[in-house]
């Protein structure tokens, strides 16, 4: 038995199909989770395998295997070839090599110190101190501090001449305090997912932020429920990430417009005719696909079909300019897209995914936006999300709300929720925060696809102000 060899596998198989590629994916992750100053989990995972993609009669098909012997790769190739040949008689689209560019190059995500320099002792010490910092009162019944650090390598080689590698250093964090009284329970949390090294976790500010977070959970215990009425809503960047993700990112995915997702995640209220014309939001709305934002969670040089990733405006001055679709979807739909054919791992085929979708900062300071509001609410940190399968009617909940009355922040309120319809909501955007209010967040949990995949996404945004939104709270 021998380990497979990239080049010889390509040479051996390339004359049996119209085109093929091999994508090797290896990810080593370490997860630690501390609850109430006790270590709940310490886990290491090594996930690796190979995805073989073949083109037969204009149809693209796949076989993934964790068997990385020469014979294992051969068997996977034969499976991909056999089923794809039969499937090509019933193919949904006809593809050519134009959808598989012969890209070459390397990408390394930025870091100061590799995450592998973090020993178990050091990570545990940081999480234990975080949990202690969350412990500001006997009423904090649950203190949660968790991190996952990952090193990911992707190598890609095709019979068409593509040859590229990408290496990622990733850090995910989550800190949470749950406060409980006789009458109520309230949770406050923070965290992020970024490309970066050990330095992300070594940031001493995390410990201080834990204390603030726990104190805010206690504050919520004493707070009134959020009132129910129409009012202006000022969303902090950690809620904007969810708003952008659900009501801009997903509806813009071209595979949803094409109906590939109809049976699972859903499709979109957008049609291909809307691209280049639709007034998606107010003139203040500018949204970009930015795969090169340093340290943002979903930066890369190539998507998983080898398409070189480029910065693009998706929405400019409120007008929808392009969708989030791969070269395959662009060909099928005849509209512009981006390099976003992405697979969650070695065992999934690439599909249209979000990556870094960012809202471009404007010019309003936070103080100016608050001062402009007669009746409104500042909302922070998502805790609930739901939207229909066309990505139109949404309802989102936040952990923490502060009322704005006559241009000033006044009372803290608990259980704030808001709901609306996508286009109406984005067209009610009346102020966009300056770069000073801009923050970038990432999430490892964007689910989609059949078979299903969770993928990493990043969303940067300033604070944004919306007018006349339906806001409501919990039951008293």
């Amino acid at each position: 038995m021998t380990h497979f060899n990239f080049e010889s596998s390509i040479s051996k198989f390339k004359n049996q199909v119209d085109w093929l590629s091999l994508r090797f994916y290896r990810e080593k992750s370490h997860s630690y989770f501390v609850r109430n100053e006790h270590l709940e989990e310490c886990r290491t995972e090594l996930d690796q395998g190979v995805m073989i993609e073949v083109m037969v009669n204009g149809h693209l098909g796949y076989a993934a295997t964790s068997d990385m012997t020469t014979d294992g790769i051969k068997q996977a190739f034969l499976r991909a070839k056999k089923l794809s040949t039969h499937a090509s008689a019933y193919k949904a689209a006809n593809f050519t090599l134009e959808q598989r560019p012969p890209s070459r190059g390397k990408f390394q995500s930025p870091y100061l110190h590799r995450v592998s320099t973090l020993a178990a002792e050091e990570i545990l010490d940081i999480l234990m101190r975080s949990s202690q910092s969350l412990n500001v009162s006997e009423r904090i019944v649950s203190r949660y501090a968790a991190t996952e650090v990952k090193e990911t390598q992707i190598q890609y080689l095709s019979s068409g001449g593509a040859e590229w590698e990408q290496e990622l250093q990733l850090v995910e964090t989550k800190f949470q305090a749950t406060a409980q009284s006789q009458k109520d329970t309230q949770t406050r949390s923070f965290g992020n997912s970024v490309q970066g090294g050990a330095e992300v976790l070594r940031n001493a500010e995390l410990i201080d932020q834990c204390k603030v977070t726990a104190e805010e959970s206690l504050e919520l215990l004493e707070a009134d429920n959020c009132p129910t009425e129409l009012m202006d809503v000022l969303l902090a960047p950690d809620q904007m990430q969810l708003q952008i993700h659900e009501s801009i990112g997903h509806p813009l995915e071209l595979d949803r417009i094409l109906g590939d997702e109809r049976n699972y995640a859903g499709w979109s209220f957008i049609s291909s005719d809307d691209i280049g014309k639709l007034q998606y939001g107010s003139k203040l709305l500018n949204v970009v696909f930015d795969p090169h934002q340093e340290n943002e969670f979903a930066s890369y040089a190539f998507d998983d079909t080898g398409n070189p990733a480029k910065f693009e405006f998706l929405i400019k001055d409120g007008v929808l300019l392009r969708g989030l679709g791969s070269l395959e979807s662009q060909k099928r739909l005849g509209v512009p897209g981006v390099a976003n054919a992405r697979a969650s791992s070695w065992n999934r085929a690439p599909i249209d995914r979000m990556a870094n979708i960012n809202l471009v900062p404007g010019s309003s300071t936070l103080e100016e936006m608050i001062a402009s509001v007669q009746k409104g609410i500042l909302l922070k940190t998502n805790k609930s999300w739901s939207i229909d399968d066309y990505r139109n009617k949404f309802q989102f909940g936040c952990e923490y709300g502060q009322l704005i009355e006559n241009g000033k922040l006044t009372r803290t309120v608990k259980n704030p929720n808001y709901r609306g319809k996508t286009l109406q909501f984005w067209n009610s955007l009346k102020a966009v925060g300056s770069p000073k209010t801009y923050e970038t967040y990432g999430s490892p949990y964007c689910g989609k696809g059949e078979p299903s995949q969770v993928i990493r996404v990043g969303h940067g945004s300033p604070c944004c102000l919306f007018s006349n939104v339906e806001v409501f709270g919990g039951l008293s």
Binding site: M1, H38, L39, C42, R43, T44, E45, L46, D47, H59, G61, Y62, A64, T65, S66, D67, M68, T69, G72, Q75, A80, L83, S84, H86, A87, Y90, K91, A92, A120, E121, L124, V141, A179, G259, D260, R262, N263, Y264, G266, A349, S384, W385, S386, I387, D388, D389, K393, Q395, G397, N415, N417, R419, G420, K421, G447, E450, P451, S452, G474, L475
Partner: protein, 448 residues
């Protein structure tokens, strides 16, 4: 790869690696080794054509390692050669020994014990290659179908250094699909261990007939309370929320249990509502990651009263409670909601004027402490007047409390139940499912 070959190779892999590691253990160490794997054909359909076909062969080994009261876990993808995988496993065991020295003792550690031996293997009869593609494409050529076929072998097992040895494998498939009439749709699923073309055709024919109701113009509803019948797939979507804390004892202790007020007897559910964990359904193995065998059937909510929550052995130790061999997540693995007395023939008559909700979508908590959920209607949801279907509705957002819809608002429960098999394919094709009735509800609150 056929089932026998995949199953035998996978069992041998778990046996070989676990026995070698058990021999390497020192006196103060113990180990449970887990296997999970699949050999699956996934075929994704759009407009009754093949969008993507993906064959996946994957095997994963993991172990939980105990050393002097310390605990950690490791996992890796098996590469296909026993000797290579043993090298990786031994490297990980060496790492585990070193890392364990840096960890504090775990006060809630559940020591491994021998929970016995079990083997369950179910061979199916599936279509392959050209037969598979043709069987679906030819039957669906007259309709606009989107969906996923997933079929093949799934295996899971664990062995521990105390002698425990559990194994579960099956060969099965599902064809989870929806049919479209422009933007309106009907959802269906054909799942079994043996592909029978006439059963798939029957499923398609039934869905096609149901789709006819969507030919009428759609009715736009105003927000407000409506009498509603929720078909079993809609109830299944709501029941999926029971995996997110409402039945978990740990969540109860940590303030994350939406049914806390039921446990604390501040709120009640209807006497018509009973919920159990029922492994008789045969959809998933009884053993959990520790190898513990849960009771065949556990009544969790009986006639509206909470009888017990799911308590893992770890929670039992932490909170000095009585455990019931729940999974580590304390989510139900084989949930059943009991049938009632509403017969199928009386559903529309009892509904009278209101909504027939076939499916719901994207449910989340809107107020967890009050068990309030929000979500959307999806697929063929219908407006009914005087027991007659009038029109499909435009999708509506709802916001309701479980205490209301399963409490005073629960008017009737059907005398039949349907199995909703798991079509979860995150990371790998997963086992499981739920058995659910339909329910008639007095005030289902729509907000948008």
């Amino acid at each position: 790869m056929n089932f026998d070959f995949f199953n035998d190779e996978s069992r041998e892999l778990l046996k070989f690696i676990s026995e070698a590691l058990f021999q390497d253990l020192h006196a103060d160490e113990s180990l449970t080794v887990h296997f999970r794997g699949e050999d699956t054909e996934y075929v994704r359909w759009n407009q009754s054509k093949v969008r993507q076909n993906t064959s996946v062969l994957q095997r994963n080994l993991s172990f939980e390692y105990h050393n002097n009261g310390r605990r950690l876990s490791k996992s890796f993808t098996a590469q296909g050669v026993l000797e290579w995988d043993l090298i990786t496993a031994r490297e990980m065991l060496t790492e585990a020994r070193k890392e364990a020295q840096a960890l504090p003792p775990d006060p809630f550690l559940v020591e491994f014990t021998n929970h016995g031996t079990s083997t369950s293997e179910y061979r199916g009869h599936l279509l392959e290659g050209e037969d598979l593609i043709k069987a679906i494409a030819s039957s669906a050529k007259e309709v606009d179908m989107a969906g996923l076929y997933a079929g093949g072998s799934i295996a899971t097992g664990n062995r521990n250094s105390k002698g425990q040895n559990h194994w579960f494998a099956n060969e099965s498939f599902f064809m989870d699909y929806s049919l479209y009439n422009q933007q309106l749709a009907v959802k269906s699923c054909y799942a079994d261990f043996q592909w029978e073309q006439n059963k798939f055709n029957e499923s398609l024919n039934l869905a096609t007939q149901q789709l006819e109701a969507t030919n009428r113009p759609r009715k736009k509803l105003a927000p407000g309370n409506y009498r509603a019948y929720l078909a079993p797939p809609a109830i299944s979507e709501i029941a999926s929320m029971f995996a997110w804390g409402p039945l978990s004892y740990r969540a109860y202790k940590n303030g994350a249990n939406a049914l806390k007020k039921l446990q604390d007897k501040e709120r009640k559910l209807s006497a018509q509502f009973s919920l159990s964990e029922n492994f008789h359904l045969g959809l998933t193995p009884r053993f959990n990651s520790l190898g513990e065998l849960a009771p065949e059937k556990m009544h969790l909510i009986e006639q509206g009263e909470l009888k017990q929550l799911l308590v893992s052995s770890r929670s039992a130790k932490e909170y000095n409670a009585l455990g019931n061999y729940a999974s580590s997540s304390e989510a139900p693995r084989s949930l059943e909601i009991a049938a009632g007395s509403l017969s199928k023939s009386k559903i529309f008559k009892e509904l009278g004027t209101g909504l027939y909700l076939s499916n719901l979508h994207y449910i989340n908590w809107s107020d967890l402490q009050n068990a309030r959920i929000t979500g959307m209607t999806r697929y063929a949801c219908l407006w009914v007047e005087n027991g007659e279907i009038v029109a499909p509705i435009e999708d509506m957002r709802f916001d309701v409390s479980l205490f209301d819809i399963f409490g005073d608002g629960l008017l009737g429960v059907t005398d039949f139940q349907e199995i909703d098999p798991s079509v979860d394919t995150y990371f790998q094709r997963n086992l499981g499912g739920r058995k659910l009735p339909g329910m008639l509800i007095r005030d289902f609150n729509f907000t948008l």
